[in-house]
């Protein structure tokens, strides 16, 4: 396990930003636009620049989905003169990219995106270009927001086995564990900056369980230390058998890091350590929700829950698993059009309205029903998993509190006559 003091994290970022397009979670900023001073920009992933204010404590307001699936993507240009039409495809440029500090929920949402864009018939050219060239650095959570409910959706907030690198927050330090070849290659660029602790790291110890409460940095550190100790024992045993120097025991550098970590563990007053965390406020039982929904298409629940919906589309905009897009025109001149695809929202009335006026989902009831069935049933049938990762963004942003956690609770409480 490799670690670095939190105060030194910028050196890692600076080093990774050279070979990669490095995206980091950046705190919301206050605008200076005259007349709009004080309005907050959302915290989100931005391309690394020195001095950008990092957003480490909780997840970003906007998900990183736009880095694999941009909000607007220019596809091709059409030039038309009289009866002639010329189509010029836009190049897709993509430099190797690191998304640094993604939370477990958003790592899971990328799995959802993989299923949509890389499975089932056609592959999406844009996504297929970006995805294999994107290295995911997952960051474990040590605290949660009031709106988080990832553990209810089967997500472990402190471990993302599918990420390329797992970063664990150990209080004063971050540990880095490579989990894929791409992750190892990325970490090689910063190897000189990291200190070594021999051990399997906390992610290995935690990956088999979904905790009801988050482990504190101190608990994580204890696990890390005990793993390091186990590893030392086994490597000592190995070396007595083989007398090989390959399985080297603790180096003096790692030793001192261990000691320093142990000191920190005892230092409860350390200002950098987050407080031990409470259980998540929102808990829902998502077991069996798909099976129950199979018989709920005509349920009166949908007549009730759509009533407050404003159709604003905020839920789909912030949702990390919402993938719907529109293809439309950006008119550059009377002869030239840029064809682009943009995020769309199933909550809008013209989303399904056909030429001639027929609309299979004409009112909010059908649209709200389709959205929740899509998250909790249709994608399970189509792509093999629920398309909610419990990030809580729709809980935080829905202006009328019509969010998925409450809806799951209402579904589970609904009475259904078996068909």
């Amino acid at each position: 396990m490799k670690t670095i003091a939190k105060t030194q994290i910028d050196s890692i970022l600076k080093a990774l930003a050279v070979p990669y397009n490095l995206y980091i979670p950046v705190a919301g900023a206050f605008t200076q636009t005259p007349g709009r001073e004080g309005l907050e920009n959302a915290s989100q992933f931005r391309l690394y620049q020195e001095g950008l204010p990092l957003h480490w404590t909780t997840n970003t307001c906007l998900s990183p989905k736009d880095l694999l699936f941009p909000q607007t993507e220019e596809m091709y240009t059409i030039v038309s003169h009289g009866k002639t039409v010329e189509i010029q495809e836009k190049a897709i440029g993509h430099k190797p990219t690191i998304l640094f500090g993604i939370r477990s929920c958003d790592i899971e949402s990328i799995d959802c995106m993989d299923r949509v864009f890389l499975e089932k018939g056609f592959e999406d050219t844009y996504y297929k270009t970006r995805r294999p060239r994107t290295i995911l650095f997952a960051l474990s959570c040590t605290t949660h927001e009031d709106t988080c409910f990832c553990t209810s959706m089967g997500v472990n907030p402190q471990s993302s086995p599918s990420a390329d690198v797992q970063i664990s927050d150990l209080g004063d330090t971050f540990s880095f564990t490579a989990q894929t070849l791409g992750g190892e290659q990325a970490l090689a660029y910063v190897d000189a900056l990291l200190s070594e602790i021999i051990g399997t790291g906390p992610s290995g110890a935690l990956k088999t369980q979904t905790p009801d409460t988050l482990k504190t940095p101190e608990e994580l550190k204890e696990i890390a230390l005990s793993n390091a100790a186990d590893s030392t024992l086994s490597s000592a045993a190995d070396s007595t058998l083989s007398s090989s120097s390959a399985d080297s025991p603790l180096s003096s550098a790692a030793d001192s890091t261990l000691n320093a970590a142990a000191d920190n563990a005892g230092n409860k007053t350390s200002a950098a350590s987050p407080l031990p965390t409470d259980p998540m406020i929102i808990t829902v039982n998502s077991d069996g929700v798909s099976e129950k929904l199979e018989n709920m298409f005509e349920h009166p629940l949908w007549d009730e829950i759509n009533l407050p919906c404003l159709g604003c589309g905020a839920c789909t905009y912030v949702c990390p698993t919402c993938y719907c897009f529109d293809i439309n025109d950006k008119t550059l001149s009377h002869t030239t059009i840029n064809k682009q695809r943009c995020w769309d929202s199933c909550m809008f009335s013209d989303y399904t309205r056909m030429a001639g006026g027929h609309n299979p989902r004409p009112s909010k009831k059908e649209r709200v029903r389709n959205r929740f069935l899509d998250k909790l049933l249709y994608n399970r049938q189509r792509h093999g998993r629920l398309f909610c990762v419990g990030c809580g963004r729709c809980v935080a942003k829905c202006p009328v509190n019509l969010e998925i956690a409450t809806v799951i609770q209402k579904i589970q409480a609904a009475e259904v006559t078996p068909s």
Partner: protein, 300 residues
């Protein structure tokens, strides 16, 4: 429609992410981006009815832009009006045909163009009709209005491969005589084909009309057609009543085949809007059996 799925909340991660060196930059366009249209030329425009025209579209190299199976779709675009999905009604070596009714901004713009107009064309999309399933069987085609367009591709295929299929029966209707599409086929070509019956109806009586008057959904029952494989297409309300009538007449749900329409943008099952339940019409459809539709939410 299979409704069986993995019960595990955290299933295995997919292995579809292409294996490649992530440290290799990518520049330039991919050779086969399914969302990019090819340049096409509208080489011929045939007026079918006051609001339906058939457009023959040839690729830039003088051959047909793609080779669809009967029932498959193509995405036609006309700048600056946009792009929409149409069924391919016929094809030969040099072009594909699309019969298009003027209902919205793109289709009205198409009706205003002249022969020689260039356009964008991509496809084919969708599953098409189940030719293997239909092979050797008697087929009944039931269509209303512009719903004749997708069905015609299969009728033409059956006529061209006449010995591969049993008796062919066409039941077709429109609001008026003027609204009947493909009159050449209905009144001249198909009546001459061996073992093929054509039944045409219009909604209201008209001067000079000697044929049947009445709506399409009730006509098969009046004709006392024996249950066999049937292919149904038309406006949503016609499909609904036709399926009810066929069920009453004893047609089996797995032998009643229909084509659905939904708003589409991508055509490749990604953009989300053409779903009926967990099926995407552009990819899993547009052809479904009544048995499949019965397992899907009634939202079309």
């Amino acid at each position: 429609m299979s409704m069986i799925y993995d019960m595990n909340l955290n299933p295995q991660k997919i292995s579809k992410i292409p294996k490649m060196n992530p440290h290799e930059s990518h520049t330039g366009a991919s050779p086969a981006n399914p969302l990019i249209p090819k340049r096409g030329i509208i080489t011929k425009i045939t007026t079918e009815t006051p609001d339906v025209k058939t457009f023959s579209i040839t690729g830039a190299d003088g051959t047909k832009p793609f080779t669809p199976q009967p029932g498959q779709l193509g995405m036609l675009s006309l700048p600056p009006y946009g792009e929409a999905m149409f069924s391919v009604t016929a094809q030969n070596d040099t072009h594909i045909d699309m019969a298009i009714k003027a209902v919205g901004s793109l289709t009205n713009a198409l009706h205003a163009v002249e022969e020689g107009q260039e356009c964008g064309i991509r496809g084919p999309y969708g599953n098409g009709f189940p030719l293997d399933f239909c092979h050797g069987k008697d087929l009944i085609f039931i269509a209303g209005g512009i719903g004749h367009a997708p069905v015609r591709s299969l009728i033409r295929h059956c006529v061209e491969h006449r010995t591969d299929y049993g008796k062919l029966t066409v039941v077709y209707g429109a609001r008026s005589y003027a609204d009947l599409v493909f009159k050449d086929d209905l009144f001249d070509n198909w009546p001459k084909v061996d073992n093929m019956d054509i039944h045409v109806t219009i909604d209201r009586p008209e001067d000079g009309w000697q044929g049947h008057v009445g709506f399409v959904p009730s006509y098969p029952e009046e004709l006392a057609l024996p249950p066999s494989v049937s292919i149904v297409c038309g406006p949503p309300i016609m499909i609904k009543f036709a399926l009810q009538a066929l069920t009453k007449m004893g047609f089996k749900p797995n032998e009643v085949i229909t084509t659905m329409e939904m708003r589409m943008k991508c055509g490749i099952g990604k953009c989300g809007r053409c779903n009926i339940g967990s099926c995407f019409v552009c990819l899993d459809g547009p052809v479904f059996t009544q048995e499949q539709l019965n397992a899907m939410p009634p939202e079309y």
